[in-house]
Symmetry: C2
Subunit: 228 residues, 2 copies
């Protein structure tokens, strides 16, 4: 019964995720589901990413948190559209709550939507929100053994941002072990070692993101659904 | 329906937790539910705690992980009894799975049982396992805004171990803000700033733990249920 119930919940979620994906795709918006542990540095990375590419592309943000609007308050200071979701206790976003947040955004001219999920290395990876790509932020300070212990999120992510590389000299983090453990789960994954504090590595990450946005924009014009 | 279902699950869990608590209490074992984010340093803290108090007291460990036996392998090298639970995807331990792990331990002479929960700042706080006290490990590297954003675990914990204080000079962590945000949720909480790597602060934490164990042992002898 419990397994059946979980299957039903995931089925219902998949249907709503398809609706979100179709709507976002029709508008030609590249959508990222940004996941990671509490304190991995997701919001700081978002702030830096907005600084680097926010002039060239129009960005909207959905902030998922259990409580508080702290992250949305931080992001709104960057002058981009942001909607805060409070799950009120739930440990992940789902497609339904994401769909309701989408209705609160003015999406017509948006190029990039980033959905910052609840800080949790487990549950968010199970729920499709309708995104194009899942990206995770892993902090050097969490240790190099996390891919093997939390494999689903590492398997599902197209890119792993290894944040807080400025702390590398003060930890025993083994970069080789982290990368090889992740590749075992996910051979095609991209790695971006960055420090959202010092700015190190942000260019590589931003360039990758820009390419994805440009591909999406090309699809949009090829289809003629926008700007027509 | 969903709310009703969650209530049923928590009710069933509470019943099983009562059974665990009664059994552990009859044996006079102090039981800790050790929680925290992935990479907060729970296992390293456990290793250090065993080193400091393992000669004076008999310790048993239950290791909760989604996958792998890495943590149990590390702990077993310390020469204490350890049972690994793999949740196979679930993001927290519950009283049922804990009860089955308890059956695999030889508990008769044990003074202290530590249950290391799955690395997750959200869900574990909702599930009573039958422990005497909940203790959480928070890493300095996670940032000082976590109590407000993940309030349940901070409210439920009798003690917050602020781990990785050796990283304080390299972060903008505001100790005052962290402590005052936590006290708002939980006025009686104890704080233990430690570095499980350098050993800093471990004595205060261990002394607190020893007092709890001794109180439990006194209750045991007062009742005459053990050693009689």
């Amino acid at each position: 019964m419990k397994v059946k119930l979980v299957a039903d919940i995931l089925d219902a979620n998949s249907q709503l995720a398809r609706q979100n994906r179709q709507m976002l795709s029709e508008k030609g918006i590249l959508t990222l589901n940004l996941m990671g542990s509490p304190g991995a540095g997701k919001t700081t990375l978002l702030e830096q990413t907005i600084d680097v590419i926010g002039k060239a592309f129009k960005i909207a943000i959905i902030e998922g948190d259990i409580f508080t609007t702290r992250d949305a308050d931080r992001i709104s200071q960057k002058g981009v559209q942001v909607v805060q979701i409070n799950t009120g206790g739930a440990c992940h976003l789902d497609a339904g709550i994401t769909g309701r947040a989408l209705q609160k955004l003015e999406l017509d001219a948006v190029d990039l939507l980033i959905i910052e999920n609840v800080g949790n290395l487990v549950c968010p990876a199970e729920f499709d929100l309708g995104e194009d790509v899942k990206v995770m932020v892993a902090s050097i300070a969490e240790g190099d053994d996390k891919p093997a212990k939390y494999p689903l999120m590492y398997s599902e992510s197209s890119a792993v941002i290894m944040n807080k590389v400025d702390l590398l000299p003060y930890t025993d983090f083994d970069m080789g072990r982290f990368i090889s453990d992740t590749r075992k789960l996910n051979p095609d994954v991209r790695f971006f070692p960055v420090s959202a504090v010092t700015g190190e590595g942000l260019e590589n990450w931003s360039n990758w993101l820009k390419e994805l946005i440009k591909n999406k924009v090309r699809q949009r014009y090829a289809r003629g659904t926008k700007g027509a």
